[in-house]
Amino acid sequence: MKRRAALAALASAAAGAWAPRSNAARPWRIYMVTWRGMTDVERGFEGYFTQRGIPVEYTWRDAGQSPARVAEFAREARELHPDLVYTWGTSATLGMAGTHDAPLPAAAPIVFALVADPVGSKIVPRLAGQGRDVTGVFHVAPLAAQLRAMRAYRPFKRLGVLYNGAEANSVAVANALDAELARDGGELLRTSFASGADGRPLGDGIEERIQRLHARGAQWLYLGPDTYLFTQIDRVAAAAREERLPTFATTESLIDSPAPVLAGLVSRYRTIGAFAAYKAEQILAGHKRARELPVETLSRFSFIVRVEVARALDVLPPVTLLNFAEFR
């Protein structure tokens, strides 16, 4: 609530004190680093400044999923002296900022977006009072909110999860789910993807794994923010539909894929970008230091239900969901 009040104060300040700078003023220079091309996040980021009439000059660099190129961008940024650095995703952010215990020399304050777990990936030691001029926005809704959303759709006792056992972030999410469910008498049924000799996950036996989860009594299949899962989503979702097992997504990319995912509580990439831009604005025009701005996620997420999938699975959404979910 405190945060909300503070934000409201900032917003009203934004309306007055931070009047858009006149056209004569030098535009702010923002150095943007993306990991795999421009996404809706950047469109939301730039759209925010356009809407508010704040002139900004962007220097966009895409890493094409290569850490070496991010290292080059870090060097370039230090030469260019931008007013602010924007980064997309965990890898690009770590490449530009380093971890909090081994920081890289800073070219400018950094605002990141779409980092699933900024504390777990050691970008910041904690969400507020992070002690370095790095702030940003993470995009996964709190687990409790996700479970509430699932229950609002269809109450359950047992939740199945299929995850990549080699991805630290996925394991951490599964553990947290386990703890959250245990608190109110639920149960998590976990299965990880098959793994090859080198430890990398394999797509073998996805269908059998989902069948087994269903046979053990899973009432939902949880689709976490898992990079490998994203590459297999078509098979996973098809297998779940075959089993008539409802699927619940946690990121926009999963619910937006053509695969038949039933529902999800997700952040819109555009909104995430706008929120990151709001933080950037406070640093640039509001003369705040990045370390004074907490790392946050949205306070309202989009609950998305895909009606065709609901019909196919024969799990129609409860009527009250019409009040707050977005049907498509």
Binding site: R4, R268, T271, R300, L316, V319, L321, F324, F327
Partner: protein, 776 residues
């Protein structure tokens, strides 16, 4: 008309008039509150719905100022509700971005009088306030119907009051004629128990009949006006369901087959307690229905909305409980009972006033008796005026601007009470001698004037600092009047009659503390806190006038003034048993009473969503218990003492303390308001057990000690320390409340007092070597 019958007429008019006036005020308030509540809830539904529309559009990535479809939605919504004058969507600075009235767009809209706003805050997905939806609706219909009801009930109330007065007057005359046939015409003489019982019964009957008559007259008017208003609200609720149906239709979902329809209907019935049946029907077949189906078939209490569903055209049926208005009246029964009770106290005070002093001043044979009688009415009125604010003072203080001080809110709320008590404690020792010097009459007049001014000032208090300053004057005035009245009793009694005189004095205090809080709560709900303070000021001024007219001008018999100096305090406190009595019993007892009754209970009641009248009624329970049980407890102590030749005082004090402590621990149970009522009740019982034995112990533990230290000096120390406990109570409670919430604050204080009780009993179980049978 003889003097006796004239005073009977005044008593009848006063008590029936008071009861009818309070009942009409209560009915008027309930009428307005019920109408207002229905309208507010209805318009809040509209504002929320519009907010959802805006936020949903923002969720699709649209900018706040670019929702092209919004103006049409606003206009069509306005046209569905006849109360709505317009809908604006404003930015955080209040500038209208959208409006149903094109001329308002881009402006800081002004809100004409006679319009109310129902607002909902619009936030973007990361919680920043983007603006507000503000639905403007007309109040003229509400005001007109409130005014019409006020006129309606005032005229009929007056008629009821006149009839009730006449009936009571005739009854009192008849009773008087029957029982006092052989007595002198004046009712100053005691006429025996049967006369008093008969008179009391007549008053109860007349007041009850008058109150019931007012309620019965109001009932039809409530039903005629609230019924249609409730149906209009049911229609708005129905439209919200219709909006869901339309969405379901858009996605081709069969509404009647969607899960959760029952839950939806249940939750609507919970949120709208007057709605008792909601159903989706097609061809007279109920597809989904919740509540009492019988209510759906009654004529005139349900609405039907056509609903388009996937299957057949359906009808949504929403019914309002036909007994809803009766339910409202049942909820008022408690308030009406309180009015009856307070009327009885007032009739008693009036009777004593009219027969004792005032009207028969000249006839009173004994100047001392007449002085005491003359003190009674002004003192009661003065205390009553102060007690009016008990039930709402914490809330009132909490709503005032704090200014530049960074004080936690719970402490803010406790400060006016604490300061009042502190001033009372500190000013009293010096005031005794002062009021003796300038005369009790002048002292009381000074107290009355300062008190009236302080209440009036409280009505205008604009900030917490102002209120604190004003309340300290009120505390001072209270102390002045208290000491003056107490001095009058002491001056006009001797050793033989003092106990009785002081009992009358305490009786007045208890009667005022019984009547003040509930009546103050009713007034605050009906008129607002500030007007209630104004009423208090008028009452205090009235008390001053009465005192000016009635109190004897003569100074009391001269006596050597007893002064308590610093050395007396030191000497008294050097007695370890006395110090232990103060620390383990006197202070904890006061801390817990003031912390609970004056501070925590009013706040707790407000936080549980009840009004000031409810808080006042709960606080009253304490005084009622004291009035009923103090004599019983005192008698029990004396009887035990006689029968066993032992002094059970310490046991009574310890039991009272322990019970007070247990009352606090009771709040750990999830009982809600019932718990608070039980707590106040227990606290009253507990304090009734310990208050008199504790005072007696003061003399006992000091007997034979501290040569040169008089009994009155010891009592002076005792009272001062006790009153400091009063001042500490709210501050301690505020601190604990701020720390960890209500259950903790209640339980912590209760636990500490329980510990004190145990320690006290361990120390005082065996009487020290004191002569047995020292009467205080």
């Amino acid at each position: 008309m003889t003097g006796g019958s004239r005073s009977q007429l005044w008593v009848a008019a006063g008590v029936v008039g008071f009861a009818v006036a309070m009942a009409c005020l209560l009915l008027g308030f309930k009428h307005r509150a019920a109408l207002e509540g229905l309208q507010r809830a209805r318009l809040a539904l509209v504002a929320d719905e519009m907010r959802d529309v805006v936020e949903r559009n923002l969720g699709f990535g649209m900018a706040f100022g670019e929702i092209a479809t919004l103006p049409d939605v606003l206009v069509s919504t306005r046209n569905t509700e006849e109360l709505i004058t317009g809908i604006d969507v404003v930015d955080p600075s209040g500038k209208a971005i959208y409006s149903t009235d094109a001329a308002r767009r881009g402006l800081l809209p002004e809100h004409p009088d006679g319009e109310a706003l129902s607002e909902a805050v619009v936030r973007n997905p990361f919680g920043v306030e983007l603006g507000r939806v503000s639905v403007r609706y007309r109040l003229d219909r509400l005001q007109a119907s409130s005014a019409a009801f006020a006129g309606f009930i005032a005229v009929r109330g007056l008629a009821v009051a006149i009839l009730g007065t006449l009936a009571l007057f005739l009854a009192l005359r008849a009773i008087h004629a029957r029982f006092a046939r052989h007595s002198p015409a004046s009712v100053t003489q005691a006429l025996g128990r049967r006369y008093r019982v008969a008179a009391l019964a007549a008053v109860v009957l007349a007041v009850t009949a008058s109150i019931l008559a007012c309620a019965a007259i109001a009932y039809s008017s409530f039903r005629d006006e609230l019924g249609p208003e409730a149906l209009r609200k049911a229609e708005t609720v129905g439209r919200a369901v219709d909006a869901l149906a339309q969405k379901a239709m858009r996605w081709q979902l069969p509404l009647e087959k969607l899960p959760g329809m029952e839950d939806l209907f249940d939750s609507l019935e919970r949120q709208n307690p007057e709605i008792t049946w909601i159903a989706l029907r097609a061809d007279d077949r109920v597809l989904v229905g919740r509540g009492n189906p019988a209510h759906g078939t009654l004529a005139g209490n349900h609405v039907e909305l056509p609903i388009i569903t996937m299957a057949d055209p359906a009808v949504l049926e929403i019914a309002v409980d036909p007994a809803w208005v009766a339910r409202l009246f049942r909820e008022m029964a408690l308030d009406l009972a309180v009015i009856l009770l307070v009327s009885l106290v007032i009739s008693f005070e009036l009777a004593v006033y009219l027969t004792g002093a005032g009207a028969f001043r000249a006839a009173a044979p004994d100047p001392a008796v007449s002085a005491l009688g003359a003190m009674r009415a002004p003192f009661f009125l003065f205390l009553f005026s102060e007690d009016l604010s008990r039930s709402f003072l914490p809330l009132f203080a909490g709503a005032l601007p704090v200014g530049p001080f960074a004080i936690p809110p719970n402490l803010v709320v406790s400060l006016p009470i604490a300061l009042f008590m502190l001033i009372v404690a500190l000013s009293q020792p010096g005031l005794g001698a002062w009021s003796e010097r300038i005369g009790r009459r002048r002292a009381f007049l000074a107290g009355g004037i300062i008190g009236a001014a302080a209440h009036l000032g409280s009505a205008f208090a604009g900030s917490l600092a102002q209120l604190l300053a004003i309340r300290s004057f009120a505390g001072f005035a209270w102390a002045v009047a208290f000491v003056a009245a107490q001095g009058l009793v002491i001056d006009n009694t001797d050793r033989g009659t003092r106990t009785r005189g002081l009992a009358v004095f305490v009786g007045i205090i208890m009667a005022a503390s019984m009547c003040g809080p509930p009546i103050g709560g009713l007034l605050a709900d009906g008129l607002g806190a500030r007007w209630t303070f104004a009423v208090a000021a008028a009452l205090a001024a009235g008390a001053t006038l009465l005192a000016w007219r009635d109190l004897p001008r003569l100074a009391g018999p001269a006596r050597a003034p007893v002064r308590t100096g610093m050395s007396d305090y030191a000497a008294a406190l050097a007695n370890p048993r006395f110090a232990a009595l103060l620390a383990l019993a006197a202070i904890p007892a006061k801390v817990i009473v003031i912390a609970f009754c004056f501070y925590l209970v009013p706040l707790y009641v407000a936080q549980s969503g009840h009004n000031a009248a409810m808080a006042g009624r709960l606080i009253m329970l304490y005084s009622v218990m004291m009035v009923l049980l103090v004599p019983v407890a005192t008698e029990a102590v004396e009887r035990l003492q006689r029968r066993h030749a032992s002094r059970p005082h310490a046991a009574f004090v310890a039991a009272g303390l322990a019970l007070s402590g247990l009352a606090g621990l009771l709040m750990l149970l999830p009982l809600g308001l019932a718990g608070a009522a039980a707590l106040v009740l227990l606290l009253g019982v507990a304090q009734a057990l310990s208050i008199a034995p504790q005072a007696a112990l003061v003399a006992e533990v000091n007997a034979g000690r501290a040569a040169g230290l008089g009994e009155s000096a010891v009592y002076g120390v005792y009272r001062l320390v006790e009153r400091l406990g009063n001042a500490m109570g709210p501050v301690i409670a505020a601190f604990l409340l701020q720390l960890a919430g209500f259950p903790f604050a209640f339980a912590a204080i209760g636990g500490a007092v329980l510990a004190c009780a145990i320690a006290f009993y361990a120390l005082f179980r065996e009487p020290a070597a004191v002569p047995v049978g020292v009467a205080p």
